[in-house]
Symmetry: C2
Subunit: 285 residues, 2 copies
């Protein structure tokens, strides 16, 4: 997804939010805003938003001296998500279509997002997503590709959300490679967060090799790209990965909850919607 | 009022909004965002927000070549407001306390604000304010000062809103000097807008002598300051004038609807509240 004009005030809002998580020192936070303000002119409209997110959050770390301000929040998200695990497993087990319920569970986990949204109540929002109608529902393609796939690449999004992803991975019951961010950024899942969620018991965890809050291919490691290009079935979780990969031609299935009106407009849905969207582009070979 | 950290993303949002009113050219609007981004570090936290608003909206004019993008919107606001005039006069005439209803009418007009809020429906919002409880209600002081005043300085805010102010001026029935902005800025009222609203028939219109979206004294003309300092009763309309004058010691009565959560926090009320607030500071002499 390209960067829209509306993304620019949002970059500043995100810098402010991250600055406040990192420090109480108003002078330092003002410096974060000043420097991010100066960076805006370096951001072209044809870049993807996570490319800028990467520099912005790095700047917050530099100025505040706190490179991972969301560390404690991530631990707490995982703890809360793990406490919901038995309930969510029961929902899947008692459902007529376990796979579909597990997909809903995975999308429900995507409400945990401290980048674009702070106003979520995990328990309420999860139940909401379990019931909600899909705005885009390419479930047929999901099942077809799953049935044909020998190996699945599952690109994770946020810490805590990994617990919900684990339930979908368990339900799919196929070999899965689970990709996490290469370094802490916002509340995105890193290797440690995926292990805390128990992903290591159900999938092979790899790093995208980038600290961008979305799998921007040109910033990813060769190792990740090798797995990515050989995969016939790629699951992309969340807004950051959608922003990074929406224009790629590979057969990706995007699973996300829409928390930003600009992404909503880009996809052609509404803020608050849940989406299971197959990438329409032809496969690059 | 000082500039809070939250004002910085809002400065960019306002620049984007004004840029879009002025032009469809995305490249020009991007340049507006780039240049406003660069200005942020020049904005100290102890300045008032309208000081920055002045520079930001001036920058929008410079880059887009449209110094008064809100011109048509202002004309339309005044037209709509004039169509409500007979209804509003009837509300005041049929009320038990005509002065209080006229104050409510004046505050109701303050919903017309393209700086901080676009989502207003004039008819609905006016009726809402006519019924709503005040969050701060220094009506006793308003009446005492009105009774003691020989001359009133009434500092206007937005175009269209002037029509509502006219009703309060008519109800007070005292000599009033009505101050407008010295040049177009956002949808703030200028001399022309006040005349369009019929203010010239009920008050002497003067200019603050500044193009700031609030009467920041150090930027106002000597003529305005002379009137300001000799006034024993000053009515200040809207957020911009509150931001500019809230720390001044003169006997000001602020009439406004709260459309921004930062101003709400500064005053100690909630967004959406209506306020009739006397300045507590001692008179400078």
């Amino acid at each position: 997804m390209r960067t829209y004009l509306d993304c620019f005030p949002c970059f500043l809002t995100q810098a402010l939010r991250a600055g406040r998580i990192a420090t109480d020192d108003e002078t330092k936070i003002k410096k974060v805003l000043d420097e991010v303000g100066m960076m805006l002119r370096e951001i072209p409209l044809d870049s993807t938003p996570p490319q800028s997110g990467r520099w912005i959050y790095r700047k917050v770390g530099e100025i505040t001296g706190i490179p991972d301000p969301y560390r404690d929040i991530k631990k707490e998200s995982t703890r809360k998500a793990l406490s919901l695990y038995p309930y969510l497993k029961k929902q899947v087990a008692s459902s007529d279509d376990g796979l579909l319920t597990a997909i809903r569970v995975a999308i429900a986990g995507n409400v945990i997002d401290f980048g674009s949204n702070w106003n979520f109540d995990l328990n309420t929002d999860v139940d909401d997503v379990l019931e909600k109608d899909f705005a885009l529902f390419d479930y047929g393609q999901f099942k077809d590709r799953l049935n044909a796939a020998n190996e699945i690449l599952y690109i994770g999004d946020n810490a805590g959300e990994c617990v919900f992803d684990r339930i979908l991975i368990e339900e799919m019951n196929r070999p899965v490679t689970y990709a996490v961010r290469g370094a802490p950024i916002i509340n995105d899942a890193t290797y440690e967060d995926a292990v805390d969620a128990g992903i290591d018991g159900v999938a092979t965890i790899i790093s995208t090799g980038t600290d961008a809050p979305g799998a921007i291919l040109e910033t990813c490691s060769a190792e990740f790209k090798k797995v990515y290009h050989r995969s016939s079935f790629i699951i992309s979780k969340g807004q950051g990965n959608y922003e990074a990969l929406s224009m790629e031609p590979e057969p990706i299935l995007f699973l996300l909850k829409i928390k930003c009106h600009i992404i909503a407009k880009d996809i052609g849905v509404k803020k608050g919607d849940i989406v299971l969207k197959a990438n329409k582009g032809p496969r690059k070979k």
